[in-house]
Symmetry: D2
């Protein structure tokens, strides 16, 4: 089959011919219809420090996808051939403390599709049956690969108590933008979106942000305090991974408020723990992946409510063969989510 | 001054002449501009069992009000003559365990305006300065007496985790109707409002209910299970106090869901604790009053966000002299909130 | 094989010869070494209303047990023949909302061993592999059947915030007694145990209760208020299922406190919801079974800490052939946990 | 009156003659019987960067104390002359969002005794009446100044869910040592105490630590993972403020676990946020002061339960005149809490 892989420890992505995967016990084989590009894929493409530490080439990459089940391995009971499914990209071991207490997404032996096992920039991909989620009728299969990153935003946004609260979101990549839409429909009093890119701030506005700040032009911490009677935001979602933004997040939150950390910084970050965390009695929570499968139920319910308009999020539709162009577009920042038809 | 009081232990309300109150230490005197009618006032008017147990006549009743501070007692520092204020109707002792741990609304020696001390169906009423809340600019003083019952709804609605959840509300009196509006703007996936009165269900619809059920015509438990894939509502707010509704609330909630009990039943209620509470692992929380003053901040923030439209809630505007007509109207159920100009 | 079953819809239990079960996919066959008697077994023995509603004879009963795995069905990976295991008695469907969000113990299609499928009053019993839990080295296999009811107590006790709190426990059956020991070692300031049986109150004392009350002699509500400066208990665990005790539990809890309901009443219970739940802003939580498998990890950790002394709990050791005598002993109340050697 | 103050912006403390304070509205005057030395006092004595940023000389320092009320200002109602009281050292404004929502300890205009207003290294000190707490009969007045730092430990320890959890405590100063005792009696499965000073580790052992680690000799992170099946500690209390310890705290906690940050680092701290916080989904909470007055109730209840043995904590008793010797002793680390008789 056709696939795109990291074949050598260097910048780039390569078209290869690979064997079609064979589903094992409790696994299904999915014919990919649509796959999309995540920031993680771009890290791997660029071959930065994070990628060097986590990827062992050759590896077919890609982990946001949807498609049709074309083969079911032994023991599969919850899906059948012909089902249209999206995929949870985290694979828990099923046996560790975390997996057995409802926290597979922080499994002690976690494997991630497109990172630790072969991924979805290919004609076919195999996954455990429990990782396949029926595509809700509210979402066309052609865009259903966005359920996975939208799930990140659901998990991050619902980790704090946002109803009736002033919310600040640092970072307007696809997950940050999804969080803008989610917090807006989930009762935030105000949603202030911050980025350095006016294109993305424009999308944030379309997705419901009550205010946008380009942090190259205005100091977001000053703005947020002015907008909240000097008190600070009740909840700050840090979705950028940028060191300056992470530091600003802690200065923007009010005493007793909550900072959700989702964006992955590429190195260590220096924090003023005394003033910005201890004296404030800030609550901080790291968020990764999606709760398996609480987040998916929440996500499906939100889609069924038809309160979310995700159209502004999808800015480009290309074919899988154009994956390298898509990577460069991600690097430019001049995009929301890029969907690749397989 | 002119006032309306329960003067004898029997049905009715009587116009009296009373001495103008004198504010003591840390108290303010408020000239009432607007006061409104609560279900509690109607209990007292009817002189039912609850009223007999809690009221010692003579007592000027009424506790929902707003007006102007016309005198400040010794030690008052946070308000001044001329300020327009609404009132928190619960007076904590300030010294008990509850008061000193942020829970004055469940003070061990709680006093309620219009129940334990003289109230607002009068030209003037005195209150502790901390019970006076500046009227937000978003609310005209002519309707600011609704902040107190709206606060009940805020406290009840935010006691459960409603964002991304199917919510059911039993009882469409003014507090239940406010809860419909609040949960709608606070991220509920769906809000189903239930009552026996089509007039009130009509208001619920205007305030945002995604579905209304007249429980004289359809069984709400059956409907709710049908609407939630047989699972039940994630959160049920019981705002009616009706025994049948309380029982239905526990059958309508899903396993692991939350029931908020706010409506006061007039007698004991029989529950199927084994099936409807234990096997379901239901979470139940009794709610009374407003958190002092967390609820008021939340309320003010919601008003500032301009997401709430309370206009459908106020169905009648009358003068204080018509209080007896207002009482009868409450008894008929053919009203939302009735505002009385003083 | 030899087994004891409810064979007819009437009082009693019958020795039968049954086919040895055959483990299916992902199931293991356990040779029972020890099984113990639960209140549920006694309900079935007596054939009361609960039993009539839940049991379809013939059914081999019993669900507290430990033994040796003697056969592993296809697909079993986490256990092997020869392993000594105790058993979780709840079997989740693995596919419903509850199972997929970490709450299998309130599965929408829950099956219980010895109730819905054949149980452990037998030489052999088959269970899903995930329901088998390796017996911690701190517990002799001869008493390891008590892990299941001890898990009930762990789940109930940790559902409230007991550290630094005055705790009241109604009901000193084996689970209530276990809760006495657990709350005592888990930071409760005081643990008051209540029952009508002095024999059981004597065991409660041995298990660490700071005070015991025979509710036939003294009013527990009065005592608890006297012992807590008139405030009431911070946490009340209702483990008896007795209607009077359930009503007293709500009167014994302080404003803002928590009532955990575990004991199953045989019929509906009348509550003063206004005074005892709403005006108090009580938190109530129904508890059933054990969290799968958070409770088991907690339980294992507690056993490893060697802080729990369970010896006073086990008052009788008999053989499985004496199961009818054991049933009668349970009926008398003059026992703690009865262990049956298979 | 005699007092000890920071009179110039440099190392040292000076004996001065000062005017006796006059209690204002709702204030009481306390004749100091006992005062003790906090790490904060030592920061001020040394005149380090923190002190330079927070102290405006001249200032009488000291904030841990107990004594007798000798004068009550106008409006005082809850205490009277002759009462023996300990003191909460944080003074809230009573008017900000935090004060009015039960969080005075993180008041937006917080004043601290001995830092922002004159303190207790003196014959007399005046405080708001609400900051005076009657000394429980279980504590001799001669040592009652330790209630304030013990309150820090109560607030920190109860901010996480410690019952049934493996707890690690970095830093064995007086508050860390108090946390060792508190978590031990509050249901922690194990309490591992870490410091660089064997003298303090010896006290930790006496106060109940199940294990102590001198981090100059052994790597605590390695030890903790070994002791928890490779999983990490469920709760880590960071009480040292040392940068290396703060970094180790995040590596020592398990996935999904909680880190409580209490110790104040003198500068910024570099953290590996991606690996140690986000991928772990760690919960982090900054803790400062004591909840006013939830912590004091908890503290009083713990003392009444007589489960806490604080004797090992008090290692030195000196007179106030020896305050400079006491400071040097704190600098050496060869002490627990030093009590100064006034």
């Amino acid at each position: 089959m056709k696939a795109f892989a990291k074949v050598r420890p260097e910048l780039g992505i390569t078209r290869i011919e690979a064997d079609q995967p064979r589903p094992g016990n409790n696994e299904v084989l999915v014919k990919v219809r649509v796959t999309s590009v995540c920031g993680t894929d771009y890290h791997i493409y660029r071959w930065d420090d994070w990628a060097k530490a986590h990827i062992r080439p050759p590896r077919i990459i890609g982990h946001e996808f949807a498609g049709e089940i074309v083969e079911a391995g032994p023991g599969v009971t919850t899906h059948k051939v012909g089902d249209l499914v999206a995929a949870e990209s985290h694979i828990g071991c099923g046996r560790c403390y975390q997996c057995r207490t409802g926290n597979s997404h922080i499994c002690e032996r976690l494997a991630i599709i497109g990172v630790d096992v072969d991924g979805s920039f290919a004609e076919y991909v195999k996954i455990p049956e429990q990782n396949a989620w029926p595509i809700p009728t509210e979402v066309p299969v052609e865009t259903a690969s966005i359920l996975e990153p939208l799930g990140n935003a659901v998990h991050a946004a619902f980790a704090a108590d946002i109803a009736g609260t002033d919310v600040t979101i640092f970072g307007c990549g696809p997950v940050g933008l999804s969080a803008v839409a989610l917090t807006t429909v989930s009762g935030a009093l105000s949603v202030t979106a911050i980025d350095v890119n006016d294109y993305r701030l424009g999308i944030a506005k379309k997705m419901g942000a009550s205010k946008t700040i380009n942090s190259k032009e205005l100091d977001p911490v000053t703005e947020i305090h002015r907008d909240t009677d000097g008190r600070g935001a009740g909840v700050v979602l840090e979705m950028s991974g940028n060191e300056g933004a992470i530091r600003a997040a802690f200065r923007a939150v009010r005493n007793g408020g909550t900072v959700i950390l989702f964006g992955l910084p590429s190195g260590e970050v220096r924090l003023n723990i005394a003033d910005d965390l201890i004296f404030k009695e800030a609550n901080v929570r790291g968020i990764v992946g999606r709760e398996m499968f609480k987040t998916w139920y929440k996500l499906e319910a939100l889609l069924k409510s038809r309160k979310l308009d995700l159209q502004p999020l999808i800015t480009h539709r290309m074919s899988l063969d154009q994956v390298e162009d898509a990577m460069k577009l991600v690097g430019s920042g001049e995009c929301g989510k890029i969907i690749l038809a397989a």
